[in-house]
Symmetry: C2
Subunit: 291 residues, 2 copies
Amino acid sequence: MAAAAPPPPPTPAPTPPSTVPAGSTPIGHPLFARIRLAHPSDVPHIHKLIHQMAVFERLTHLFSATEASLSSTLFTSPPFQSFTVFILEVSSKPFLVDGPILHSHHHLYPPQVQVVNLDLPIDDPEADAFRSAGGGDGVGGGEAVLAGFVLFFPNYSTFLGKPGFYVEDLFVRECYRRKGFGRMLLSAVARQAVKMGYGRVEWVVLDWNVNAIRFYEEMGAKILQEWRICRLTGEALQAYGKVYLLNKALKRLKTIGIGTNNSCDKKEQEFALKIEAKSSYLGFCKSSAMN
Amino acid sequence: MAAAAPPPPPTPAPTPPSTVPAGSTPIGHPLFARIRLAHPSDVPHIHKLIHQMAVFERLTHLFSATEASLSSTLFTSPPFQSFTVFILEVSSKPFLVDGPILHSHHHLYPPQVQVVNLDLPIDDPEADAFRSAGGGDGVGGGEAVLAGFVLFFPNYSTFLGKPGFYVEDLFVRECYRRKGFGRMLLSAVARQAVKMGYGRVEWVVLDWNVNAIRFYEEMGAKILQEWRICRLTGEALQAYGKVYLLNKALKRLKTIGIGTNNSCDKKEQEFALKIEAKSSYLGFCKSSAMN
């Protein structure tokens, strides 16, 4: 996915399980991690995380999302039916899993809490900027901060005849990387896919990011080497809208008799033919065109 | 996209416009082409088209879709909000564009009719098998046959902060290829994207299909060379569901006191730890894991 930070080399032997139930006494420096559905009040944080991702990928020139554009396009459907965001929160104190829930989709995805035992506590220089704005349960002393997110949505396989999930972005803030949180977020999407009877989870990776590729393969993913993404965007996409507008204009002209044989004005006929030619050239329908 | 048939080499000069309004007198052998939203009654035909696509791609071993699986997963949301299918119908007679509409989404996408003038009429050996089952307007003498389809759904760009469309499949039956119908279907999706204020239309192509790549580039698409698709499916995906079930079992065991310090049964404790280890190994949370 676009945001995958290069992971470290794989560890040959699995480490002992570190998962302990919330409420028990963990050893070392426990960090409580919670995955929950995003809430509209998380948008300012999500926006900042996406910007960090653009910085990380050196693609800030392509970054034009605003809090307003995110707010108006996310959260328009119930979770999992369209664009869905899981938020990763961390806290040095246990989450109050039975505390008040600020959003209404708790029943669709009860927050998933895990504990990671660290040798050293994490120094998060941006803790204040990413203090959890709500959207989840309370946590002792407002300790929780956003550490990452994953944005995904349903895709479809015609061969399987069933949906899957496409993971558009996975991002973990720098100081929380290489601690299993990326895996935790991606696993959460995979588990949700299985739970819903979906057939696939897909995402993309840069071909030179060999560490990320190895990590994804370890997670069970296959890398499809032969396929390339085709993208129609910007002016090239807008041109198709112009065809649409041209066709509308043409239709209107014909309705009022301009450009038809009924029209006696030669210039009007020429004008209509010009629009027709432009419309045809831009791809709506050409008798000699292909597939 | 998965179904792109190799198109012929590009024609250097644009051909004269062939689009004529329905109802006027076309020259040559006119073929009336209509793009409309699919209707549940089209599912048997869509299923056959997907199967033809699998045969064309020599991937029938991956084909497991049934009419029932398509029926239960398509048409669950209003058009354009989720999985959406445009049907391409052709007829040697004009469509009755003002005839009765069998489905309720006409206002969301009024059928788009165009005329293609051919030098020779098309011999369609499967015309009877693909006779239009309905879902659209009437057409003189039940002449209309399904010639192709495109299946697409919304995707999301976090950088743009807005949705786009992802084209999962585009397919035109063999005898209708190289006549502009693929372009017509893809253009219809692009126009709809512009109309909805979306930022991108994306699909995939096989890297060795140079003719298709050239065709897409001519249509304004950029081919993203560096990205690779990662796919988690089959047993590898199901394993994540097992983790989910293991965690559920573990939680239940702990609830009833098995495997905790309160439990005095050593074997029960060992069993719970084993589940915990398996669960952790399969990726839910490892303290030494990565990104």
